[in-house]
């Protein structure tokens, strides 16, 4: 799966957890999930679990802790899929 498709899937995953979905329309790889999208830090775990389901991957604690931006998530997912 190419990075653009992962990005689009990530945006869909983040939608239910983002207070202002308009922020997602301007989202880029550098968008910080907690600071820019105002996703609750506790809900970041839900986002990662959803990623596991959507992409059929497993993310461990250490890997989950590295995810701060959409780009971090894309890189991790991309590396796991390839």
């Amino acid at each position: 799966m190419d990075e653009q498709k992962i990005f689009e899937a990530m945006v869909n995953i983040l939608k239910p957890y983002t207070k202002d979905t308009a922020l997602l329309e301007r989202a880029t790889r550098d968008t910080h999930i907690l600071n820019d999208l105002k996703v609750n830090s506790a809900r970041l775990v839900d986002v990662i679990i959803k990623c596991e389901d959507v992409f059929n991957i497993t993310v461990d604690d250490d890997e989950a802790d590295t995810i701060r931006t959409i780009g971090n998530a894309i890189d991790l997912i991309h590396a796991k899929l390839n």
Binding site: N40, A42, V45, E52, T58, A64, T66
Partner: protein
């Protein structure tokens, strides 16, 4: 994994706290009395906690609902008598307060001497890992850790069963041998929603529930969510009991 230096510093903090408990414990107790706070059936609450602590030395994960910033000292006051604070310092739980609430140097010192490990919610990964490693180390030494599983004060005034943090699940997912969980539900009669401190002269009810966590069939983040959900569910049940029975 915690470095030897970090372990030594933690034990130094523990030792210094133990020495200063002679001054600080009476100070906290006097402050609570001065504020006019009273715990309903406090002798029964302390007896229940003592019975559990005598039955099982540790590790203990103490999980409580969170409505005010005075919850930690109030819970410690409710669980253990002044004499127990002085005699069995190890029974006093370690706390994980939000760092941003302790900017004043006096409060930082008070926090340090009162078995606190400040955390920064959503803070740097390395710091969070270090804090988790400290907690794991303390639990491996059969210490008690007091956490608020909701991840903050309940904004609705009720245990938040929808939007809670899964962080507490990490402690249970770490395969700590012999871990037991003590759930405490603390609420003042006049406490309708969350606040900074309880009202002057407030009278509290404390409910105690103890269980041994069962190993989750899930793994990783899902297991953590499972454990956290179980604890939150218990607290919510205690809250239902409180409103259904105690308030009558």
């Amino acid at each position: 994994m915690l470095s030897s230096r970090a372990k030594a510093l933690l034990m130094f903090q523990n030792g210094l706290g133990r020495l200063m408990a002679v001054v600080l414990a009476p100070f906290y107790f006097a402050l609570i009395r001065l504020m006019g706070y009273r715990i309903r059936d406090i002798k029964a609450v302390r007896a229940a906690c003592r019975r559990e602590f005598e039955k099982h030395e540790g590790p203990w994960l103490i999980c409580a609902n969170h409505l005010t910033m005075a919850d930690s000292p109030l819970l410690s006051y409710a669980m253990l008598s002044l004499w127990t604070h002085l005699r069995v310092f190890r029974w006093i739980p370690w706390n994980l307060p939000e760092r941003n609430n302790f900017r004043n140097p006096f409060l930082v010192l008070l926090c340090y001497l009162s078995k606190c490990i400040p955390v920064q919610r959503g803070g740097p990964r390395t710091e969070m890992k270090q804090t988790l490693a400290k907690c794991a180390y303390l639990l491996s030494r059969r210490q008690r850790l007091l956490v608020f599983p909701e991840g903050g004060r309940s904004r609705t005034g009720r245990v938040n069963t929808e939007n809670f943090s899964y962080g507490v699940g990490r402690f249970l997912d770490n395969d700590q041998e012999g871990m037991r969980v003590m759930c405490l539900y603390l609420r003042g009669d006049g406490q309708a929603a969350y606040s900074t401190i309880p009202a002057f002269g407030e009278r509290f009810t404390v409910l105690v529930d103890v269980f041994t966590p069962e190993k989750s069939a899930l793994t990783g983040l899902r297991a953590q969510r499972d454990y956290a959900g179980h604890i939150i569910g218990r607290l919510a049940e205690m809250e239902d009991n409180y409103f259904g029975f105690c308030r009558q």
